[in-house]
């Protein structure tokens, strides 16, 4: 076991962990943040997406040692009151069905809207193709990303 320093949701944190431990285990079991989900364990479904220095990494295959000294943001740290434009759009359109994949969906969508504030349907498909939803909420996800784009513009204008 090694002491690993990282910043989770803007809080400096020291975890005692095997450096080979998946970041997902560290987040869920050591830091106690259960919003990020385990899906496939081999980086194919996207349920475990968190931000590592702003990038949408899959925490099931990312070793906790890769996160050392870096900023990790989970679904719990995206906003203080669930008022991030993407979260608001998800609520307004009632996007989730079972909800299991949606923390990963939202974390991926946030990266898309940061890099492409006004995305086309093709941009959304390109960005979200790695986030699988067994309930098939893809059309609502797309609609919510367009809405979030509008909410983001409104927020930045006023």
């Amino acid at each position: 076991m090694t002491k690993i320093k990282l910043n989770i949701n803007n809080k400096d944190t020291v975890l005692e962990a095997d450096p080979q431990m998946p970041l997902l285990w560290a987040i869920r079991d050591l830091a106690g943040l259960k919003g990020t989900k385990y899906g496939c364990g081999v980086a194919q479904c996207g349920a475990c997406v968190v931000h590592l220095n702003g990038e949408a990494v899959r925490s099931c295959v990312t070793k906790v040692s890769r996160a050392e000294g870096k900023k990790v943001v989970t679904i719990e740290g995206l906003s203080e009151d669930n008022n991030h434009p993407v979260q608001k759009a998800w609520q307004d359109l009632d996007v989730p069905q079972c909800g299991y994949c949606h923390s990963g969906q939202i974390m991926s969508a946030v990266v898309l809207l940061r890099e492409k504030p006004d995305p086309t349907d093709q941009d959304i498909d390109d960005a979200m193709a790695g986030n699988v939803c067994r309930c098939g909420t893809y059309l609502r996800v797309r609609k919510a990303i367009h809405l979030a784009s509008e909410l983001q513009k409104t927020a930045s204008n006023g």
Binding site: V42, Q44, V49, A56, V57, R58, V61, A127, G130
Partner: protein, 215 residues
């Protein structure tokens, strides 16, 4: 017997015959020179002991490696990488992006870690995992030996690499990753050592391209 009575008479004098032989020889040499340049593309590199036969032979070994899944999968004809020993389109359809490192939430390094992830069907790793960039795609998929050899030494298509950089590229960490592909993936058809030997021979003997018809 009748034919024994046949008297051989010279059609031309010995002097003219010698002159004709010399002319035929010179003509043959000139024609063979044209034929050589028609079949081989000479790359203008500073080389030692040029030898088109040795060079082309070495390149055909190089070609088998470059067209193996471990190399070709990241040099696709389209903008989606290939995957697996059958070189199918990568699951999830990640896109190349301008810099070759993916787009938005689908960047290569989001899944591909600095090292191989243990287990079957997990992402292979490298600290610099990427495709060639959009403005220099360096496509291998579908190329004939002739086309690929020409592309590899064309600085406008090979990432602006000169001879020295080409020779060094055989030791690039991402090239070496082909011989450490992670569990369940086949290796290229020869060892890295043999690949480097063939690669160096191809370049140092003149970097000749095989004839266009060679497949």
């Amino acid at each position: 017997m009748k034919f024994l009575k046949f008297r051989r008479t010279p059609l031309i004098s010995q002097r003219n015959a010698t002159l004709l032989s010399v002319l035929i020889f010179c003509g043959a040499v000139a024609l063979s020179a044209f034929r050589t340049t028609d079949h081989l593309v000479t790359i203008h590199f500073k080389t030692e002991n040029k030898d088109s036969i040795e060079s082309v032979k070495a390149f055909m070994d190089v070609y088998t490696v470059l067209m193996s899944p471990r190399c070709m999968n990241c040099h696709p004809a389209g903008d989606v990488p290939l995957q697996g020993d059958d070189s199918h389109l990568h699951a999830m359809g990640p896109k190349r992006g301008a810099d070759g490192k993916g787009v938005y939430a689908m960047k290569c390094m989001n899944c591909h870690q600095p090292t191989n992830t243990p287990g079957l069907h997990t992402p292979p790793g490298n600290p610099n995992w990427h495709l060639p960039p959009a403005d220099m795609k360096m496509v291998f998929q579908g190329k004939t030996p002739h086309e690929l050899a020409k592309q590899l030494v064309d600085k406008s298509k090979n990432g602006n690499k000169d001879t020295k950089q080409l020779l060094e590229h055989a030791h690039d960490s991402l090239v070496l990753a082909g011989w450490d592909p992670g569990e369940g993936r086949t290796l290229p058809p020869m060892s890295h050592k043999d690949f480097v030997k063939a690669w160096n021979t191809w370049i140092k003997k003149g970097a000749y391209a095989p004839a266009p018809t060679t497949n």
